[in-house]
Structures are given as structure tokens and as C-alpha cells.
């Protein structure tokens, strides 16, 4: 990339800069799309997938994860009080892209199918991003879709999607507990693999586990900074090698508020009250938290606001090494890899060995180069299953060596 283009793109957000560069290049055409993410209890996965295919969307990516909730049991032997235990529930995380203008209506149908308006059913949200793929997402003809959906759903907007990538085994559960204690949301935990540090070491790398626990949290935008700083403190992420956190914006969504299951002491639970007020107010601004103590302890040099981009590329498992080295050569610090399955409608069968999603959290000035390098070394535009997504990340907390 030459100096002139860099100067030109200086005022633009990372994703806009990528858009402009690739349009100018003319090799890969970017599309402005919305990525819809559904986090649903495995009991309802089939219903959701069926509805997605009924809408004419041809393929969905599925990642396995678990949500953590507090279960409240009465004490044994009739003793007074309750015991609180964190229990995990297996979930499917479905992700697919649609035309931006149609995202809301598609979500309405899915909310109906999965009953996401009921606490405990799951979470659904939409994020605007740029996608590079072989084909644009199909145009959904809603008239052909059977059944009606409620189009007046009061989605929450101004939400943040905070992703914590943790290196120490067992820290996912601890962070989930912190999030539950703070009443943030129902945490989602998935597994990722990252070999960035390991690949730089010799055989001693066997002492470092490649597995990362990725904790996904959704919270009101205005609370994000204070909550993230608390999470950094609790997870001791200011120490090297323990992990990092970054956030991406959510356009709108319906969030699962059922954080507690079990014995309820009052006529309505705290979550029900909060959900009701959110609905009445139409937003979450009313529940802005006060600033918490201890945020001065966080190392300001490592906190990068307004400066990042999330680049994720879905590819065959074999391409992992090539893509990672291409990305790192172009300036990325590393990637987290998670395993995905592709579910296709009809008789389409994709002979893929297995798919992975490599996610890079990259600073703004490197974004264009990294995207360029990844597009060059991938089969995006050739293979139907391969995609590259670029999403602005307003803030990130990353330790670098």
C-alpha cells in the first residue's frame, strides 16, 4: 500500500478505509451487510435453523458454546437460606449475513421462531459490517415466507459486544461469575485456539496450552468502559500473556436477561423489572452505572480506544497457517481460531474438511494491509464457504510483547 493512499484514508474509520481501498483495487467486491448472531439453547436450534432456511438464506455458520447462569437452590437438610451455583447450558451460536436493509425484518421472524422476547430463550443481535464473499447475501422475499411476524419488537440499541480472550485455563468461568455478579448479561463462553506465542518457542511450547476461553458479553454502550475496566482488574489482564479484551458495536438486539434460575424471593425478579423498564423506556440509558473504583490502576498505555478493527475470516482448516502468517506479516499481532460448522439448506453439500474462523484484532493503521494480505492468500471470492468480515472495534485492551 503506498503512502498516498495511506494519507487519503487517514480520516476514515478502518472499515471505511478498507471499503475504499478494495473498491479502488477492483479485485474483491465488498458488500455492506448486517451479521445476525443468534445464541440459542440447543433445544431450539432446529427451529431457528428451519426458520433461517425458510427465509431463503442458504447457509448458516454454527459454533458450539455454553452460557452460564446462576442456579439458586434451597439449602440441603432444610437449613435456611439458599445455595448459588453457576451452571452451564450448551448453546449454538448461529451467524449469517443479510442485506442491511432487511436485517430488522429477518430478526423479527427469528425472534418469533425462537421466542427471544422471553428471558431464558437466548440472545439475538445484529452488527453492521463489511463482508467479502463469493456472493452477496440473498434478497429475502418476505411475501413468500409463510407465517406472520411481529414487526414492532422493541429492540435495544446502543449496545456493545465485548469479547474477552483469556489464556489461563479456568478463567472463563471466573470472568463469567464476575459478569453475573455485576448483573451484566448472560455470559457466553466459546473455545478458541491461539498459537501465536507458542509458534515462537521451541519444544517448550508444550508447557503453554493453545486453548483460549473466549467470553462474550453484551452490555449497554455507556457502561462498557467501566465494566471492561472491572473485568480487566478481576481477570488480571494487565499482566502479560493472560489475554485481552476488545469491543465491537451492536446495531440492535434482544438480550437474554435470565441470569438467575431458581427460587425467587419477590413477586418479580430483578431481571424482569429491568427488562420491563428497558421496554418502557425503549433504551438502556436510564441504567447508567456510576464510575467504579480502581480504573486508575489500568495501564493507560495498553488501552486503545477508537483505534481498532476486528477482522474475521472463515476458511478451511488447512488454510489456518497461511492466513495467520499472511496476517502477521502485514502487521497483526496474532489470531484466535475457533471451529465452525456450516449448515446448508436443501441438497447443497459442501465438501469441506472443516471450517475455522480466524479472528484478528488489529489497530486502525494496520487494518488495510492485513485485509489486503488475507484476501490475497485466501479463497474468498472463489469458495462459497469462505468469507472475510471487517468490523470497527472502538476500543481494545491488548498486551503486546
Amino acid at each position: 500500500m503506498n503512502k498516498d493512499t495511506k494519507t487519503q484514508n487517514k480520516g476514515l474509520s478502518p472499515s471505511r478505509a478498507v471499503w475504499k481501498t478494495q473498491i479502488d483495487k477492483g479485485v474483491h467486491s465488498p458488500h455492506r451487510v448486517s451479521r445476525i448472531t443468534c445464541i440459542t439453547n440447543k433445544l431450539f436450534s432446529d427451529k431457528i435453523v428451519e426458520q433461517i432456511f425458510k427465509l431463503g438464506i442458504e447457509s448458516v455458520f454454527d459454533e458450539t458454546g455454553r452460557t452460564v447462569r446462576e442456579f439458586i437452590y434451597p439449602r440441603n437438610f432444610g437449613l435456611p437460606g439458599s445455595t448459588v451455583k453457576n451452571q452451564s447450558t450448551p448453546v449454538d451460536v448461529f451467524r449469517f449475513t443479510v442485506q442491511r436493509k432487511q436485517a430488522r425484518m429477518v430478526m423479527d421472524y427469528l425472534v418469533k421462531a425462537g421466542e427471544f422476547h422471553i428471558p431464558g430463550r437466548g440472545t439475538i443481535f445484529s452488527q453492521d459490517l463489511i463482508e467479502f464473499a463469493k456472493k452477496e447475501p440473498p434478497f429475502v422475499v418476505f411475501d413468500d415466507v409463510e407465517g406472520e411476524a411481529d414487526h414492532s419488537i422493541p429492540y435495544l440499541d446502543k449496545l456493545s459486544y465485548v469479547i474477552c480472550v483469556l489464556s489461563v485455563p479456568g478463567s472463563g468461568d471466573k470472568m463469567a461469575k464476575v459478569a453475573l455478579d455485576l448483573g451484566v448479561c448472560v455470559p457466553l463462553i466459546t473455545h478458541g485456539i491461539s498459537n501465536d506465542l507458542r509458534d515462537q518457542l521451541g519444544l517448550i511450547r508444550i508447557t503453554i496450552s493453545p486453548e483460549k476461553e473466549v467470553v462474550h458479553l453484551i452490555m449497554p454502550e455507556q457502561d462498557t468502559e467501566s465494566i471492561v475496566k472491572l473485568l480487566l482488574e478481576e481477570g488480571r489482564l494487565d499482566r502479560p500473556g493472560r489475554g485481552f479484551i476488545y469491543q465491537t458495536p451492536i446495531s440492535y438486539g434482544l438480550i437474554d436477561t435470565r441470569m438467575r434460575v431458581g427460587r425467587q424471593e419477590y413477586a418479580a425478579s430483578m431481571e424482569q423489572i429491568i427488562a420491563a423498564i428497558d421496554q418502557l423506556k425503549g433504551n438502556t440509558f436510564w441504567r447508567k452505572r456510576l464510575d467504579t473504583e480502581g480504573n486508575e490502576k489500568i495501564n493507560k498505555e495498553l488501552w486503545h480506544p477508537d483505534d481498532n478493527c476486528e477482522i474475521s475470516i472463515i476458511s478451511d482448516e488447512d488454510a489456518e497457517d497461511i492466513l495467520k502468517s499472511a496476517g502477521m506479516k502485514a502487521g497483526a499481532t496474532g489470531s484466535t481460531v475457533s471451529r465452525l460448522k456450516i449448515l446448508a439448506s436443501g441438497t447443497k453439500s459442501h465438501k469441506v474438511s472443516s471450517l475455522i474462523q480466524s479472528t484478528f484484532s488489529v489497530s486502525a493503521d494496520k487494518t488495510n494491509d492485513v485485509v489486503d494480505a488475507l484476501l490475497e492468500h485466501s479463497a474468498v471470492g472463489i469458495k462459497f464457504t469462505e468469507r472475510l468480515h471487517v468490523l470497527d472495534s472502538p476500543a481494545a485492551y491488548i498486551q503486546s510483547f
Binding site: 421466542e115 519444544l203 508444550i206 435470565r258 497457517d321 472443516s354
Partner: protein, 687 residues
């Protein structure tokens, strides 16, 4: 691209020691329960001091290190290899080749692993006259037995591959195969010759899936499933271990049907050895010498006497046994005369041999560490290397793929071999003898009379050493002081045991029953409690189960933890062993447990979710491994010996189906909890 980081030696050492410490502490935690349990039971309840404590402690330390190395070797080397081959196979070759590859893999792994030796240990007391068919399969047709088990496992792996490739649910396979096996076993119960095979067949299924086969086949299945699956109904890679436990049962039952005509009928011991029956008897032995060896190693005095045409020949043979080392070796095989005299000789035979023996008895020395390590390392190499090479060849030559971290892989294979060697040696030197000691004492808990342990012939016996002592109520008892191993013991003198003619005193060591004759029920409960604890503790340490647990935790992203799987499965095995001991104690036919047990599994399987069903059934297949089998057999054989029950088979089969029940129940409880989140929230929001 970042350059390679060179860490200072101190940092590397710190990282390595932290990593090693974590692994070893983990294994100590897993095995601690069973060790403490066994030692406490021996010393506190049975009130017998632990013999050879130092070698046993050393053996247990070897087990801990062995488990740590072996498990790490699986995770670094074998499982990544299996998974990579599995992931690549469906993309490069068709299902036909995958199935054929599965057959070779299953067959090869069975023949390579030493599981068959567990079956022979279980059959150590099987006698040719009581259970001729069983004896024939274990001792005469061993190759046929191994190959039929291998064929069963091969077909199982091929079927599993087929199931993953076409994303079929495991339930139809369970509903077809299990009833078929049960029906065949039930039919065979009614034939007196074939009924003895049922225990062997079901135990074959239980032992086939060994420490190396399980993780390898599991990883392969997960790879194939990941590559091929596109919908929700698939089992996710689990199910092969169940098939590899069920198909061998069918193949062994079929083999016994085929060989039935060449086996003599069951008969009494004296009739079996008599010259009139010789022709039939020799169908199970090479020649007369071989038959005579069986009479000595497994028979009693009545059988030995029946063998000879007249008594003079019998006594002549006894004389040669006592004085001619060549004849001793021929008649007793690897066993020493000293051990045979305690174990099998009748009182008369002992007296006679003591009277004709010209040289003092040689006391056998303990097992040598070096020779044990050498033997076990050979077995470990045989178990790991051929399978690894086979998979590597398929990966590199056929699939044209490379392994990602070759140095890690090589290290993993090395760890697996070292680990397996240390583990099996440690079991042989430490855990096995510990279990054997406790197991040998166990029948005292429910026996009504003093148990004979061994007898020693004191000759020439100088009666002047005997002195009298008087009790409070005026009775006199006679004693003498015996010096043994530089320790002096005062022993009671029984005049009836003194042979004046030959100047020999037979010093008989017995152990009193633990509880009085009226407390036999409590004694039996004690034994059952012991069986439960041992089954629970030993299963927690099984490497195959640990590997399965790690895989389940990974695939469910932590929704089901490894510790939960370990606990629930160990609970199942503990309960299964309780049933197994009850079966031996009351001599209940095996089918009476298997039939209701497996039938109870059918509705549980039907109600459970497909993916979890496969996990649960695999848990059942994985349980009986290198740690559990020796301990369980030591216990089973000892109790069986005490009660003169024919064989120790069937216990392992019990330890296989109970865990399936506990895991499926756990799955249903977890599912109910999941539904609870959704159900109550729906009720709350009903408008």
C-alpha cells in the same frame, strides 16, 4: 512474522517444572483415593500389616508418573494424529476405503494390545473338566480367540466410520445389536457346554478397548464426524467404543458355537483324568504330559490319583517332583514347588513330599525390577508403534498431508511409550500386589472358619523345644519358639501335626475369620463396600476414561466437565462391581444380571438425546482398563477361590453396563435442568 523467542534457561526450567508439577499432581489426586482406600482397608478393617510396603510404594510412584506421561503422550501425539487422519479421510477417499481402513485399524489394535492377557488371568483357575469349552478357548484356541475378538473390533470400527460418514444416530445400532447379543447369550445359557462361555464373551467385549485403542479410535471418529457432519442428528464422533465392545461379544459367541463340537462335555475331576476318558481329555491337551501338568497345576489329589493306573506310579511321580528339578519344571511350569505345596497340594501330599525330599526347599525370590521394565517396555512398544506407523503411512502416503507440530508429535509418542511402560510396570510391582494382598484377605470377612494360608515343614523337628503353658482355667497348651527371618515367634504346638516316623512337624499358618460366624451378613456387606470403593477409585485413575472426559469437555465447550464424567462413570463402575461380587458370592448366572441390566438401558437410551447417548455408551466401553482390570480380577479370583467358583468372568461385564445407566441418568437430569430454564420462563411470561 515475529522472530523465534529464545527463553533464558531459568525461565524455561520454571515453565517446565510448573507444567510437570500440574500433570503429576493431577494424577496423584486421581489415584490417591484407591491407594488410601486399599491400604486403610487392609490395615484397619482386615487388620493385616502391609507386606513389602517399600516395593509397593515404589510401584505406585511408577503408576503416578506413568499415568502422567501416558496421558500427555496421548494428548500431544496419538490423538492429534488420529484426528488429523479422521478429518482428512472423507475429503480424499470414499466410504468403502474408510471402512476397510477401519477394519484393519480395529483388528491391528486388538492384536497389538495386551488385553487378551487379562482374559487369561481371569481364567487362571478354569479347569478342563468343569468348563472344557472355556478352557479350550483360553488355552488351546488362543489365536482363534484373539482373531475373532480382533475381527469384532475391526467390524465395529468400520461400522462406526459408516455411521459418522452418513451422520446416522447411534440409537438404531444400539436397538439392533444389544438385543441380538442378549438373545444369543440367553439361548446359549440352556446349553451346559456353551453356558460357561457367556462370561468370557462379555468380558472380551469389556477388555478389548485398551489404553491405546480408545483415545486413537475416539480421535479418529471425531475427525471423521467433524469433516462429514452437517446436521444435528450426528453423534459427534462418539459411539465406536460401544461398537468395539459389543461386536466382539458376538464374535466370541459365534466362535464358541463353531467350536462346540470339538469340545468334550463337562464331567467330574476323577473321571476326566481316568485312563478310560483319556481320548476325550486329550482333545484339550497336546499329550499325556500336558494333561498331567494340568492335573498338578489346577487339579486336586483325587484328579492326580485318577490319572495313574496304580498308586505306586502316583507316589513315584510325587517323589520325582520333590527331588528332580527337571520334573518339577515339567509338572509345575513356572510355579515353584514351595508355592504349589501351599496352593494346590493336599495335606497328605505335603506330608509325603516333606518326607521324601532330600534337599531343603528353595524359596522363590521377588520379581526383578529390570526384567519387569524390560518386559513391559516391549509390550508398550508393540502396542504403540505399529498403530502409529500405520496411521502415519495413511496420512503421508495416501492423504498426502503433513502433521502440524512434528516435534510435539514425536515427543508425544515417546511419552506414550514411557508412560505405558511405567504404568504397567508400576501396576505389576505395586498396585497389583497391593490389590492381591487385600483381595487375598477379603474372604476372611465373610468366611466362617479359619483360612489356611500356607504350611511349612519343619524337619528334623527336635521335640525338646516344645514347652507347656497353662491358662487361667487350668488347661495346658504346648508351644515352641520358631526363628524365621531372624525373628522369634511363639507358635502353638499341635501333636497331631507331628509325624514321629519321619520327624517332621507341619507348621500351618491360618488367618482367623474377621468376624464371628454369626456376623457373616455384615462381613458380606463389608466386602460389597470394598468392591464399591475399589471400583470407584480405580476408575477415576483410568487413562482411557480421562482421555474421553477431556474430549467430551472440549466438544461441549465445558458444558459437561471432565470431572463430572469421571465421577458419574466411577459411581457406575462401583455399583457394577457390587453386583459382580454378589454374582460370585451367590453363584448367580451372569445372564440374570445382564438381561435386566441391558433391557433397562433401552428406555433410558430412547429418552436420551442422540449425541449424549453415544457418549454414555462409550463411557461404558472405556471403563475396564489397565488400572481397574488387575485390581478387579485380584478381588474376583480371590473370592471365587474361596467359594470354589469356576471362574472370575462376568465381573468386568458388570463394570461396563452400570456406568451407562449412571451416565444416561445424569444426561436426563442435565436435560431436565436445561428445560427448566426455558419452561419456567415461558410460564412466567404467559399472557
Amino acid at each position: 512474522m515475529k522472530k523465534r523467542i529464545k527463553l533464558p534457561l531459568k525461565t524455561s526450567f520454571g515453565m517446565l517444572s510448573g507444567y510437570a508439577k500440574d500433570r503429576i499432581v493431577e494424577q496423584i489426586k486421581l489415584i490417591a483415593f484407591v491407594i488410601i482406600y486399599l491400604v486403610a482397608f487392609q490395615m484397619i478393617i482386615l487388620q493385616v500389616p502391609l507386606a513389602n510396603a517399600l516395593p509397593i510404594a515404589g510401584g505406585i510412584a511408577m503408576v503416578v508418573f506413568g499415568l502422567a506421561f501416558f496421558l500427555e503422550g496421548l494428548l500431544l501425539g496419538l490423538m492429534p494424529l488420529g484426528e488429523r487422519v479422521g478429518v482428512k479421510l472423507p475429503t480424499k477417499v470414499g466410504i468403502a476405503f474408510i471402512a476397510i481402513f477401519g477394519i484393519f485399524l480395529g483388528f491391528g489394535s486388538t492384536v497389538a494390545e495386551p488385553a487378551i492377557s487379562s482374559l487369561r488371568s481371569a481364567g487362571a483357575n478354569v479347569t478342563a473338566w468343569d468348563a472344557p469349552m472355556l478352557y479350550m478357548l483360553l488355552e488351546r484356541q488362543t489365536s482363534a480367540l484373539v482373531y475373532s475378538i480382533g475381527a469384532g473390533v475391526g467390524i465395529a470400527v468400520a461400522t462406526g466410520m459408516f455411521m459418522f460418514y452418513y451422520e446416522l444416530s447411534i440409537k438404531p445400532f444400539i436397538f439392533i445389536i444389544i438385543p441380538a447379543v442378549l438373545a444369543m447369550s440367553l439361548v446359549m445359557t440352556f446349553d451346559s457346554t456353551l453356558s460357561s462361555i457367556i462370561g468370557l464373551a462379555w468380558d472380551s467385549g469389556a477388555v478389548t478397548t485398551g489404553a491405546v485403542t480408545v483415545p486413537l479410535v475416539l480421535a479418529l471418529g471425531i475427525g471423521v464426524s467433524r469433516a462429514a457432519s452437517k446436521n444435528k442428528a450426528s453423534s459427534g464422533g462418539f459411539g465406536i467404543i460401544l461398537l468395539a465392545s459389543a461386536f466382539p461379544i458376538l464374535s466370541v459367541l459365534t466362535l464358541s458355537l463353531v467350536l462346540r463340537s470339538s469340545s468334550p462335555e463337562a464331567t467330574t475331576e476323577d473321571r476326566f483324568f481316568s485312563p478310560e476318558y483319556r481320548e476325550s481329555a486329550l482333545r484339550l491337551f497336546d499329550d499325556n504330559d500336558d494333561l498331567l501338568q494340568h492335573a498338578f497345576s489346577r487339579g486336586n489329589e483325587v484328579g492326580r490319583k485318577a490319572f495313574f493306573a496304580d498308586e505306586e506310579q502316583y507316589y513315584q511321580t510325587l517323589n520325582q517332583l520333590a527331588n528332580n528339578p527337571e520334573i518339577t519344571g515339567k509338572l509345575l511350569g513356572n510355579e515353584t514347588l514351595d508355592s504349589w505345596l501351599s496352593r494346590k497340594a493336599s495335606e497328605q501330599e505335603r506330608k509325603y513330599i516333606a518326607s521324601v525330599k532330600t534337599e531343603p526347599l528353595q524359596i522363590s525370590s521377588g520379581v526383578q525390577l529390570a526384567s519387569v521394565l524390560k518386559d513391559e517396555s516391549k509390550i508398550a512398544l508393540q502396542a504403540v508403534i505399529p498403530l502409529t506407523i500405520m496411521l502415519l503411512l495413511v496420512l503421508t502416503l495416501l492423504l498426502r498431508e503433513k502433521l502440524r507440530y512434528r516435534d510435539e508429535f514425536a515427543l508425544g509418542i515417546l511419552f506414550a511409550i514411557i508412560g505405558m511402560t511405567l504404568l504397567t510396570s508400576g501396576i505389576r510391582l505395586g498396585l497389583g500386589p497391593l490389590g492381591g494382598q487385600v483381595g487375598a484377605q477379603l474372604p476372611r470377612a465373610f468366611s466362617k472358619e479359619a483360612k489356611f494360608i500356607e504350611s511349612k515343614m519343619i524337619t528334623p523337628f527336635d521335640t525338646t523345644v516344645v514347652f507347656s503353658s497353662i491358662t487361667i482355667d487350668g488347661n495346658t497348651k504346648q508351644f515352641f519358639n520358631l526363628t524365621e527371618d531372624n525373628e522369634i515367634k511363639t507358635v502353638e504346638f499341635f501333636p497331631e501335626r507331628y509325624d514321629k516316623l519321619n520327624n517332621i512337624y507341619e507348621y500351618v499358618i491360618t488367618r482367623a475369620p474377621l468376624l464371628g460366624p454369626k456376623l457373616t451378613v455384615i462381613g458380606i456387606l463389608l466386602v460389597l463396600l470394598f468392591a464399591f470403593g475399589m471400583g470407584f477409585g480405580a476408575t477415576m485413575a483410568e487413562p482411557g476414561l480421562n482421555a474421553l472426559g477431556i474430549t467430551v469437555e472440549e466438544l461441549t465447550v465445558g458444558a459437561i466437565k471432565r470431572s463430572q464424567i469421571l465421577f458419574v462413570v466411577s459411581l457406575g463402575v462401583g455399583l457394577g462391581l457390587v453386583l459382580g461380587v454378589i454374582r460370585i458370592l451367590y453363584d448367580i448366572p451372569l445372564i440374570w444380571f445382564l438381561l435386566p441390566g441391558y433391557l433397562a438401558l433401552m428406555p433410558l437410551t430412547y429418552m436420551s438425546e442422540s449425541g449424549f447417548t453415544a457418549i454414555a455408551w462409550d463411557c461404558g466401553g472405556v471403563t475396564t482398563g489397565p488400572v481397574t482390570v488387575p485390581l478387579v480380577l485380584a478381588m474376583g479370583l480371590s473370592i471365587g477361590n474361596e467359594l470354589s467358583v469356576v471362574d472370575g468372568f462376568g465381573i468386568l461385564a458388570m463394570a461396563s453396563f452400570m456406568p451407562i445407566i449412571t451416565v444416561l441418568s445424569f444426561g436426563l437430569i442435565t436435560r431436565a435442568r436445561q428445560k427448566r430454564i426455558v419452561k419456567t420462563s415461558t410460564e412466567e411470561n404467559d399472557e
